[in-house]
Subunit: 300 residues, 2 copies
Amino acid sequence: MEDFDQFSVTEAVIAQMANTPDARLREIMESAVRHMHAFARDVNLTPSEWLMGIKFMTDVGKACTPFRQEFVLLSDVLGLSSLVNVLHDGTRMESGTDTSLLGPFYREGAPAMALGDSIARLTDGPRIMVFGQVRDAEGRGIPHASLQVWQTDEHGEYDLQKHDPKTMDDRGCFTCDGEGRFHFRSVRPLGYTIPMDGPVGALVTAQTRHGCRPAHIHFLISAEGYRELTTSVYLGDDQYIDTDTVFGVSKALIVHAEMGVPGSPDPSLPSIRYDFSLAKASATDSMSRVGSDPSKLVAA
Amino acid sequence: MEDFDQFSVTEAVIAQMANTPDARLREIMESAVRHMHAFARDVNLTPSEWLMGIKFMTDVGKACTPFRQEFVLLSDVLGLSSLVNVLHDGTRMESGTDTSLLGPFYREGAPAMALGDSIARLTDGPRIMVFGQVRDAEGRGIPHASLQVWQTDEHGEYDLQKHDPKTMDDRGCFTCDGEGRFHFRSVRPLGYTIPMDGPVGALVTAQTRHGCRPAHIHFLISAEGYRELTTSVYLGDDQYIDTDTVFGVSKALIVHAEMGVPGSPDPSLPSIRYDFSLAKASATDSMSRVGSDPSKLVAA
């Protein structure tokens, strides 16, 4: 029996976890414990602050529902989600379009649509055309790549925020043509404030952050033999383009919806052209999908 | 607009939190973000592992009820609670008895009792006598110190685990005599396994840890002008005395319930003698109480 000081207690925890059979779980938990303890020592965390932390985490858990993932939101506003994406892109076999946040509004089972259809079926608002090509690292089109799209309406709301959960809008699934090309119609999305009525919103408010995301369109793109790509394109004229509260924007993902874009399938509409680039799949990619339907994380 | 790499994304988060008006919140969140990001980089956390983490935290939140605090349990098994206690003791103005875990079974409003009473009112099992003195750092008794006690029964169960939540047993509040002395009767507590049916239990199982705590008796001791002391005494003959799964034991807190203890108010019973030492209160102590009723952390 050794008495613990602020360092030896950490080693005692590591020792008690040392026989974890799963080597990766052992590695992750050892690092998590070392960093969590170093944090507590660095700030000399007091018992009352610890208790506030326990209460905060409990509140975040209680705010999670099948239609709201407050822990994903917490990870987003603390930049962890963005960092995990950067690390993920760093393990690619070859270059490709930057990964960006899946976010909490992805839903499986979005309606299949034909190229040219509008994903905005229940939404009025200014129409845009979105088109481009899904390519490999050498710039060749990937035939029949699958492309899921989702976005807010012109008021900054996702379908889940205004409709019955069974109703889907402003989202759809497309299959690219034989040269990897796609095009669809939509409304011009608006940026929005992250949900501010929960514990994460209270934290962001206490930090005097604006809590806003610039307007964007989400994409989840897959093709046999390539690493699945979760990303978004961001509208460059949004006032929050440089200060996204969840750190999702990178320069290469900034687009403009404007008239006169060469090659637009509908020159009468402001158009966005974006060509995506997929890296070849590696053996471990199936283990590292960037996201999944957040509703699966909480029992209904 | 700068593109993030795995280091610059951390700085972007810090920058966005830099205007937090509460300096302590700013300090804590900056350190938390730096350590959380360093953890993700160190283990090269994959998106699927991140998602497993989100699901785990969500499950921990969902397991919290007014009668079960799974985040406190998580903090306990990862040694964070014990570390916070060590840090807390390091801020004392003078030496005193080691702090130990409050645990999830403290309840406010335990019955007031007279010295000599038995806290085991609904519990059979082998009786013991517990006695001692509450002292200041110079060894002088502190008159009329207040002492709250709680423990398991002889089967290792707290009242909350076997009775209606309104029923209290194996707990009580005592006022020491004019020289700080106390004595009460009880049953010999048994150690127990932490709740293993939730997400924290699943983690502990995956780590092949035994999940056991050695037998102990909890104390929460207070007196005007002194820092409140949350601690426990641990029975030295327990098989888990050296491997407490929540790292609560320190050498100075080990006791034995045995016959022939000098000064026992009831020599017919195995007796534990323990003298507690309280440090003088400092101006900031009221801000740093070691615990509070866990049931207050979740709305009923």
